[in-house]
């Protein structure tokens, strides 16, 4: 299969059988494996200037022209040699300071020596990659913010977690990684089905999916009010069929991504490349079309297949509903494009007391409101609105400093801990606003600490 990455295209066949972390050089079309460590060639020219007082930018310091360079490239000459040529043909190179020479070489190497390292997928790599390449798909959730969520949520093996995310399944994948297949996860999804494009990139083994449940967000209200089992289920099949017609794509998406997971775990190749993903989405689209065509041709078989699937979905749905109805989840993680307040007010009902919850939002203001509403509702303590800043450093002898650019924003988190909800409090929640103004003497004591 052909894959495009950073303006290069290649086949992965040659990479199979190597350990993760192996570096490859790209040739015309395939991969070949160079040694791990490149011998440092740049030791001969130790001639260097001390400052740039005599260096003039006349645009003529490089004696090779555009066409020359292109010719070198077309001849298929090794990138390393092109860089050497560029250095030799630079009139100012020798006058540059040692540091500037280093920088020059690094820059050219980056451009002409195409090397690719294949790494094992992990939350670290996937979240960094998504933030750099597709921040829009994960609501600009920066990787350090995701790290905070996993810690604040006390995610660990054996938990029963509720996850509501519209981050392409990245947050779900991160939670799954931390739970290592122990415990259970209930993913709440909007629309026709959960999106797990990023989840499939993790290459989780199949057993991890045994305790992964999903539940449609649109049924939460009926589940909470107790009308779920009696009224909504009979009409379910129709409902489902409708959803399936309408958003065929997203359901296929889910199936395809599950399929991919299998593929990925069998071949054990995973790519640190987003292009792979794009490729995959294209595949999915192709499958989608194929699916529709099939529908026309083998309608009968399809209908039966569809019914079977629906039956299965329904069974799973009832199971998941039962899990939720126990109202003893060990935590709640929310990271979506929706307004967090209604999500939280409803979904917290399913969480046991003394359990952490974390809500992510790209913007601070909705969380301010959410904070206020949660305080009115009660049943939560230790509410905290926070944000993290991440700064990365260049560390080189005599050249250490913070990197020039840093990320402007990685979103905000509202976290807290559930407690047993005071019955009298919940009844008079409308009076709560007034109480806030005039707290009783006991309340004041604590309130003082709060504000």
């Amino acid at each position: 299969r052909k894959i495009i990455f950073e303006k290069q295209w290649f086949y992965l066949d040659n990479a199979i059988g190597h350990i993760y972390g192996t570096t490859f050089e790209v040739t015309s079309g395939g991969n070949l494996q160079p040694k791990q460590e490149m011998e440092e060639a740049a030791t001969e020219t130790k001639e260097a200037g001390t400052d740039n007082r005599n260096i003039v930018d006349d645009g003529k310091s490089q004696k090779l022209t555009h066409d020359d360079i292109k010719a070198l490239k077309d001849k298929g000459i090794k990138g390393q040699e092109i860089v050497q040529q560029l250095i030799e043909n630079s009139t100012t190179f020798r006058d540059k300071t040692e540091f500037a020479q280093d920088k020059y070489i690094k820059k050219k190497k980056k451009k002409y020596e195409a090397v690719i390292t294949i790494l094992r997928p992990s939350t670290r790599i996937l979240s960094t990659m998504y933030y750099a390449r597709e921040p829009g798909k994960i609501n600009h959730l920066r990787y350090d913010t995701l790290a905070q969520m996993l810690t604040l949520g006390n995610i660990h093996a054996g938990n029963k977690m509720i996850v509501m995310e519209t981050c392409a399944g990245l947050v779900l994948g991160a939670v799954m990684e931390r739970m290592g297949g122990y415990g259970s996860i209930i993913q709440m999804y909007p629309g026709g089905g959960p999106v797990r494009a990023a989840t499939s990139c993790f290459g989780f083994p199949k057993p991890f999916f045994n305790n992964l449940h999903e539940f449609p967000l649109s049924k939460v209200d009926s589940l909470l009010s107790g009308t779920f089992s009696t009224e909504s289920l009979p009409s379910e099949p129709e409902d489902n069929a409708l959803v399936e017609e309408e958003s065929n794509g997203s359901i296929d998406d889910k199936q395809a991504s599950l399929q991919e997971t299998e593929e990925e775990s069998t071949t054990e190749t995973a790519m640190e490349s987003n292009q792979t993903e794009e490729q995959e989405t294209m595949d999915i689209n192709a499958e989608d079309i194929g699916f529709k065509e099939n529908q026309g041709k083998e309608n009968k078989e399809n209908v039966r297949e569809k019914q079977r699937k629906q039956q299965e979905r329904r069974k799973k749905l009832i199971e998941t509903a039962a899990l939720l109805r126990e109202k003893n989840a060990d935590g709640l993680i929310v990271a979506s494009k929706f307004h967090p307040t209604p999500l939280l007010l409803s979904l917290l009902e399913f969480v046991a007391p003394s359990r952490p919850f974390v809500v992510y939002c790209q913007y601070k203001e909705p969380l301010l409101e959410c904070y206020t509403k949660l305080r009115e509702r009660g049943g939560v303590i230790n509410l905290k609105l926070s944000e993290t800043w991440l700064r990365s450093y260049q560390v080189l002898p005599d050249r250490s400093h913070p990197k020039l650019t840093m990320s402007g924003g990685g979103g905000y988190l509202l976290s807290g801990i559930t407690v047993v909800l005071d019955k009298s409090k919940s009844d008079s929640s409308s009076l709560e606003a007034l109480k806030m103004e005039e707290p009783s003497s006991k309340k004041r004591k604590v309130q003082d600490l709060h504000c």
């Binding site: 993760y20 972390g21 460590e37 939350t123 670290r124 979240s127 990787y143 350090d144 995701l146 790290a147 905070q148 996993l150 810690t151 604040l152 006390n154 660990h156 093996a157 054996g158 938990n159 739970m179 290592g180 122990y182 060990d330 046991a352 007391p353 003394s354 359990r355 952490p356 601070k364 301010l368 409101e369 904070y371 206020t372 509403k373 303590i381 609105l385 926070s386 944000e387 993290t388 991440l390 700064r391 990365s392 450093y393 560390v395 002898p397 250490s400 913070p402 801990i417 407690v419 047993v420 606003a433 806030m436 103004e437 006991k442 004591k445 604590v446 003082d448 600490l449 709060h450 504000c451």
Partner: protein, 306 residues
């Protein structure tokens, strides 16, 4: 209760967190017949705690109440007895993710210190992983062992009392990740490398000073570590406040002032308490940064052995 498994009810011998109010809490060891004093009165363990659900409101003798919380590594970090400077949850979370820790991971750590990070590491690698932690201070090593026992996680951790710079971690070719929080991490990089699995792993070093980072980076490079990356993470906490700003009197006629362009007196303004809204002020909700925040804990240097 255990730090690696949630329990529903409070039992004899548990460590529980007494929550008094925002940022005000402390840990208690639950024991039959014991009492704990709080500013809201006495808590009698046998009757007030044992058998109750975690997350319950407990009424103290003076009529005040507190919440009793299930322990987590994060709550423990906020409440543990300090024997050294500790790592806080902000740094811990990025360390855990960047070291790619998960259930089953084998981790080496030094020094153990007060065990703040240790508890978080154990939580993440449980139930099949293991933590090898090295502390050269004998008393601290003992104390850490005792705590791990009390917290029901002793089977997941081995505490060794030796100097990691001289004697290493006491294990070789087993670890998926190594974490160093010692004054001279560059002296332990070689040991870290041999502790990591032959097929590779991740390393992190925490240092407050840039000079330490530089020497560490050099040592990492010499030992063939790749993907060397230095980060700093800062936590900003916001207080949620309703702020009201007065509208200046520019001499406009008084009947006009209510119809000024601001939708200040709009009561639907995000449910904020606008009941005693005075004329001529604008109210809004704001996330106000704390007056003082932690500006620097340490640099985190990560690298890969491959």
């Amino acid at each position: 209760m255990s730090f690696v498994e949630y329990g529903d009810t409070i039992k004899d011998g548990d460590t529980a967190i007494v929550f008094l109010g925002h940022e005000s809490m402390f840990p208690v060891k639950v024991q039959h017949g014991t009492v704990t004093q709080t500013k809201y009165g006495v808590i009698r363990h046998s009757t007030d705690l044992i058998g109750k659900k975690y997350g319950s409101k407990v009424t103290c003798s003076k009529g005040g109440w507190v919440f009793i919380l299930h322990p987590t590594p994060e709550l423990w970090t906020m409440n543990l007895p300090h024997r050294t400077q500790i790592l806080y949850s902000t740094d811990i979370s990025i360390i855990t993710m960047m070291l790619e820790l998960k259930p089953g991971s084998i981790v080496c750590e030094s020094g153990t210190g007060s065990g703040s990070l240790s508890h978080a590491l154990i939580r993440t690698v449980a139930p099949t992983g293991h933590l090898y932690t090295v502390e050269f201070h004998q008393q601290r090593a003992e104390k850490a062992r005792e705590e791990f026992r009390e917290h029901g996680v002793e089977h997941l951790v081995t505490v060794t009392n030796q100097d990691v710079c001289k004697n290493g971690f006491g294990v070789s070719n087993v670890a998926d990740a190594v974490f160093l929080d010692i004054p001279s991490p560059w002296e332990a990089i070689g040991h870290a490398k041999s502790a990591l699995k032959a097929e590779g792993g991740r390393i992190c070093s925490f240092s407050p000073c840039i000079e330490q980072v530089q020497r560490t980076c050099l040592a990492m490079e010499e030992h063939g570590f790749t993907e060397i990356n230095t980060l700093e993470i800062l936590l900003r906490v916001y207080n949620v406040r309703t702020i009201s700003l007065q509208i200046p009197d520019l001499g406009k006629a008084s009947e006009d002032s209510s119809s000024i362009g601001f939708d200040s007196s709009n009561p639907s303004n995000q449910g904020s308490p606008c009941t005693n809204l005075q004329q001529g002020t604008v109210q809004f909700k704001s996330g106000v940064p704390l007056r003082e925040m932690v500006g620097h804990t340490g640099y985190l240097t990560f690298a890969t052995k491959s």
